[in-house]
């Protein structure tokens, strides 16, 4: 199937409905959040963490799913934004919205830097450069302990109330509500973004970079810009992580974090923003509950499940779900 926001095989333009995607996504994310709140009222910290990581997976989807750049260094952007927010908070910027802005700027700048390096290459060299970039940032984070706290992590900062009203509470309600609203808004914006001329061009580059050049597109600068946007999204996640947890650890910039994000994206469905969201939610909830119910074999169970998903839904769960829905609609029409 085509990605959200394109013209479709259904024979009708999506213009009347294309705004509905943003509204629907906003409503779906809000509804999922509320369901999560009702079902797991004592696990709001988990849900909040899931949301923060979802931004990392969304950012990865922008460069990998939409622009075809394969990377295993995306957590470097997420982590640096988190460190930037932690340091900004320690320096006296405690307003969460301002801190979100710090995270976005730090993430965008890191995205641009990594885009300059990583999107210069293609295929395996690209993957290797992304790993090297991530490892370099992780090593620096470990070394620059005055900014990162080194292996102890950066701690001791406390954001003020959201909009001066909603104090962060020990149950994590404010953290969860704040993160959920930010996710719904950013997802709606991203859904519009991937339908834009720039988003469509990036998908064209993903399909065939030479073809894109042959219609006059300067491919490399566009990939760098896409990396900047992707970095801003990862920066939102890093900022939320720092604001909500109050600690930034080395795990935030680690290779494991980048690899997990890629797995979540593949599980959900690369090239679909909702696939990234679903992949992130499903993987983390599944991992959490399997880990808590069977701490000895949970990795085996998660690994086996991933293999099964990849075998039976190689394009991700979102694509499998969308195909099943399309078949269902077709069968109803033909009846």
């Amino acid at each position: 199937m085509t990605a959200i926001g394109t013209t479709t095989a259904a024979g009708a333009p999506r213009l009347p409905g294309w705004v509905r995607y943003e509204v629907t996504a906003f409503a779906v994310v809000t509804a999922l959040g509320l369901i999560g709140y009702l079902v797991f009222p004592f696990d709001l910290a988990l849900l909040t963490r899931i949301i923060a990581v979802t931004f990392l997976v969304l950012s990865l989807d922008l460069v990998t799913g939409y622009a075809g750049v394969v990377t295993l260094g995306q957590a470097a952007i997420f982590g640096v934004a988190a460190y930037a927010v932690g340091n900004a908070c320690l320096a006296g910027i405690t307003d969460p919205v301002m801190l979100l802005g710090v995270g976005i700027i730090a993430g965008a700048l890191m995205g641009l830097v990594s885009g300059v390096l990583i999107s210069r290459f293609s295929a395996l060299p690209q993957l290797v450069i992304s790993i090297a970039f991530g490892q370099l940032v992780a090593a620096l984070a470990n070394k620059l302990a005055q900014f990162t706290g080194g292996s102890d992590g950066l701690a001791g900062f406390a954001p003020s109330a959201v909009l001066g009203v909603f104090e962060f509470d020990i149950f994590g309600r404010t953290s969860f509500g704040f993160s959920l609203v930010v996710l719904a808004v950013v997802l709606a914006l991203l859904l519009r973004f991937v339908q834009s001329p720039f988003g469509l061009m990036c998908r064209g580059i993903r399909d065939d970079a030479l073809r894109a050049r042959m219609i006059g597109t300067a491919v490399y600068p566009r990939l760098i810009v896409m990396y900047g946007v992707s970095g801003a999204v990862a920066g939102v996640g890093g900022a939320l992580s720092a604001i909500n947890v109050g600690v930034v650890s080395l795990h935030s910039v680690s290779f494991e974090m980048s690899a997990e994000a890629l797995v979540m994206l593949v599980v959900g469905g690369a090239g679909h923003l909702l696939g990234a969201v679903f992949g992130s939610i499903l993987f983390q909830i599944f991992g959490h509950f399997v880990g808590s119910t069977n701490p000895f074999h949970w990795m085996t169970i998660v690994g086996g499940t991933l293999i099964l998903i990849t075998l039976f839904a190689p394009k991700g769960l979102y694509s499998a779900f969308a195909s099943a829905m399309a078949k269902f609609r077709k069968s109803r029409v033909s009846q």
């Binding site: 394109t6 333009p13 294309w18 001329p197 469509l200 065939d208 073809r211």
Partner: protein, 254 residues
């Protein structure tokens, strides 16, 4: 007035192998030129040199008087040089309309919009609708390119070329791989190309070239061995021995 496209002694070597040897020709406004040659003559290499996919070892290439010999592909496209591919190269996961819309957005300088709709802006939508009508693809507008038959994919290539409003259009074997009964759709689309652009068609099908072109270039072993009208080319002994064989004899005796 300068030629739309001018090649001056363009040469290209891969190691010790000279695949293009001092090729010179010009294309003027409205030209319909065929480029023929046996397999391995260097036709596609020559096209790749003109478009910037390859850099020549020596010589220069002028586009509307500007020396573009060492400029990139996208620069040449923005200055009016457009090509189609021997084996179609399209944005396979996007719809036909999206493919054409991307070319339009790029040409109109609208490809950096971040929040507007890509394909449904009125000025874009009207133009891709018109182009798809001209190329007979309007009923496939919303189909992903990957589900189209090969002949239709060739038409999408031509539609994208039209969207870029080229000054010089290079058609690399536009009829290759298409079932005979569908060839007419591609030929109709080629016949409907704007009269004021220069078209260079690279093609194995001699009948097609001789019907299309008012001038034919013949390449053999990387050298341009003949540049003239179809009749001149058919009568040229060097061409006959290099490439045309019985076809030229048939044409002369007809």
């Amino acid at each position: 007035m300068s030629a739309l496209l001018q090649l001056d002694d363009v040469s290209m070597s891969f190691g010790g192998l000279k695949v293009t040897q001092e090729v010179s020709f010009t294309l003027q406004t409205g030209d319909r030129v065929g480029l023929i040659g046996p397999n391995g003559a260097g036709k596609t290499t020559l096209v790749n040199l003109v478009t910037g996919n390859l850099n020549p070892s020596s010589g220069r290439i002028l586009l509307q008087g500007e020396d573009v010999t060492h400029t990139g592909i996208s620069h040449r496209v923005r200055h009016g040089l457009v090509r189609t591919f021997q084996i179609t190269r399209l944005f396979q996961t996007l719809s036909v309309a999206d493919n054409v819309a991307l070319a339009l957005l790029q040409r109109k300088g609208l490809a950096m919009g971040f929040l507007s709709s890509a394909t449904q802006r009125p000025e874009i939508r009207d133009e891709w609708t018109r182009i798809l009508q001209v190329t007979g693809l309007e009923s496939r507008a919303y189909d992903p390119v990957s589900v189209l038959a090969y002949g239709e994919q060739r038409l999408v290539e031509i539609a994208m070329a039209l969207a870029l409003k080229p000054k010089v259009l290079l058609l690399d074997e536009p009829a290759a791989g298409i079932p005979h009964e569908e060839t007419h759709r591609v030929l109709d689309a080629i016949a409907a190309l704007p009269a004021d652009i220069a078209v260079l068609m690279i093609e194995h099908d001699i009948d097609l070239v001789f019907r299309f072109a008012s001038r034919v270039l013949v390449l053999a072993n990387g050298k341009l061995i003949c540049d003239g009208t179809p009749d001149t080319v058919a009568a040229n002994d060097e061409v006959r021995s290099a490439y045309l064989g019985s076809y030229a004899n048939d044409r002369r005796s007809a």
